[in-house]
Amino acid sequence: MTGISRRDVIRTCAVGAAMVGSGAFASPLDGPRQLPVHLDKGAFAAAVKELRAVVGAEWVFADPESTLPYAKSFTPDPRHENVPSGAVAPASVEEIQAILKIANKYKLPLWTVSTGKNMGYGCATPASSGQMILDLKRMNRIIEIDAELGTALVEPGVTYQDLRDYLDEHNLPFWLDVPTVGPIVSPLGNTLERGVGYTPYGDHFFMQCGMEVVLADGTVVRTGMGSVKNSTTWQAFKWGYGPYIDGIFTQSNFGVVTKLGFWLMPKPPAFKPFMVRHNAMEDVSKIVDAMRPFRMNNLIPNVVLMMGAAYQIAMFHRREELWDKPESIPDDVVRDFAKKHGLGMWNTYFALYGTDEIIAAVEPIVRGAFEASGGEVLTEKEMGGNLWFEHHKNLMSGQLTLEEKGIMRWRGGGMCCFAPVAPAKGIETQQQTELAKEILGKYGFDYSVAYAIGGRELHHLIFIQYDKENPVEEKKADDCIREMVTRFGERGWASYRTGVNTMDLVAKQYGEANRTLNARLKQALDPNHILSPGKQGIA
């Protein structure tokens, strides 16, 4: 571990001095900046002035210093294609409507974020430079929790931490399903990105129920039952009447989602976490084949995480503790280090939920299947106190943690996620693992992964960790993820989600008819293309 070095402190002070120096400009807008390609400085300045009149001067960020936190990203951007021009932070639907009117007038592109902490995919940065960030963090009301139905309705700026605090304060017996970085991110944002968690409610979009959307022309639409006068079922019934439209507002740029409903998991009377330890990289195939029937018949009800050892080690350790060479870490080095910490090459975490009787009935069935696959089935009895076991126990019971953020320190602050989908078949996961290792090896990166196992598929979450302060390494990381997207695509394996730097590349893999349909919807709903142009490859 390197801690805070004197070099960091000196450098940070130098950056600060440079930023303070930017105050020497007659106007903040005179400073160097990245503008939208079709907007000149005068038009941009006029738009900023009007935005300030809507939200107040302190909530428009249009100088280099105040834009800095919006430009922070872990993903590679060697050609500076993901640099925002500034940000505007409304506090209400009405302010959003006013902002959209200005954006339409000036053709000002707005990149919408809820909390902007999408760490493997670009944080708050836009798919093309010059976009202004529409930061919805100030809209942070928990509008309603229905304690009888177990439903929530929240605004974009509400974090999982806010929600957890609310549930605790009101003594409401519900668990949350959190993503990896729950405390500082938004249920609305994560659900719109179709993120996943760790409990039986782990498919977040599946558990979503009703939303409110502001369209580019300012129209407010409520989906599902939400547009019915005096409706009492907005968060109770997903499908509404007629075409189901919630999906077109996820991973898209067709509107600004300002409210989101979703379901909360009743706290179960009993919960038992398990870890299955396998010691060889090749065991991936056996694990998937053993797990598949239990996810299909729901005997194992939660989103299961099959964690690669290198990823887990990176949470709490630095690369130099294992390996001091530039090429990928050999498997045997990872295996030996993992073993010292109670981990195998693959560590699969699942849990049983319900009553003691239900768990006692199911445990022997799953235990038998995983032991037959060559795994060691471990519980709190053997693993209690182990940092990684405790981490997954917490996640599978909806508790908040940021421990996986440690992986960003593996190689100097750079990280991006490539997330192809695999069918839940052992042979194809084995092939994906082999292909990923081959490509990563070519660039000298480590195979640092997690497989998230849904009902019939797996998200193969491959984390490219690199030194973002080294331009050569940043270029390599960019080349690497592009090669991975392309070569996995040639095998028919496409991403379920991707970073701002590869959105267009992935969109091409979904075919021309799909792209054209999205383009036609975009043209109809946002003819000036002011909302997040380039999001998921939709201009």
Binding site: M1, G3, I4, D8, V9, T12, C13, V15, G16, A53, G56, A57, E58, S66, L68, P69, Y70, K72, F74, A87, A89, A91, S92, V93, E94, E95, Q97, A98, K101, K117, M119, D135, K137, R138, M139, R141, I143, E155, P183, I184, E212, G218, T219, V220, V221, R222, G226, S227, K229, S231, F316, L387, L402, E403, K405, G406, R409, G413, K468, E469
Partner: protein
């Protein structure tokens, strides 16, 4: 700027902008939330990483106030950047002073 003066321009915009009739809920609150004490900001944000084996211990090290402020807003290397919409300028100033003067917490882990 007072809350009333600040929202007057919005009202003007709304007069000119078609608002669809959305039933039910009231508009957002118009008052700024009260600043959170530094202990709460630390516990609910910084303390998930710092002192948890993930990021360096920062309590009890006398880190300069201006360095803390710059780190929070810029997010160097593996750290996330936090915006004024997440940790307000007022909260950050108080947090930085509190951290600078804080004693080490023996319960924290790591280096």
């Amino acid at each position: 700027m007072s809350a009333v003066a600040r929202y007057r321009p919005v009202a003007a915009y709304l007069m000119a902008f078609a608002l669809s009739a959305a039933p039910g809920l009231a508009a957002s609150a118009t008052t700024a939330p009260a600043p959170r004490p530094p202990e709460a900001v630390y516990a609910k944000t910084c303390g998930y990483c710092h002192g948890q084996h993930v990021a360096p211990i920062i309590r009890g090290r006398g880190l300069p106030v201006e360095v803390i402020e710059q780190y929070v807003r810029s997010g160097p290397r593996g750290m996330v950047a936090f915006r004024p919409t997440e940790i307000s300028d007022v909260e950050l100033k108080v947090l930085a002073k509190w951290l600078n003067a804080s004693k080490a917490d023996p319960k924290e882990k790591g280096e």
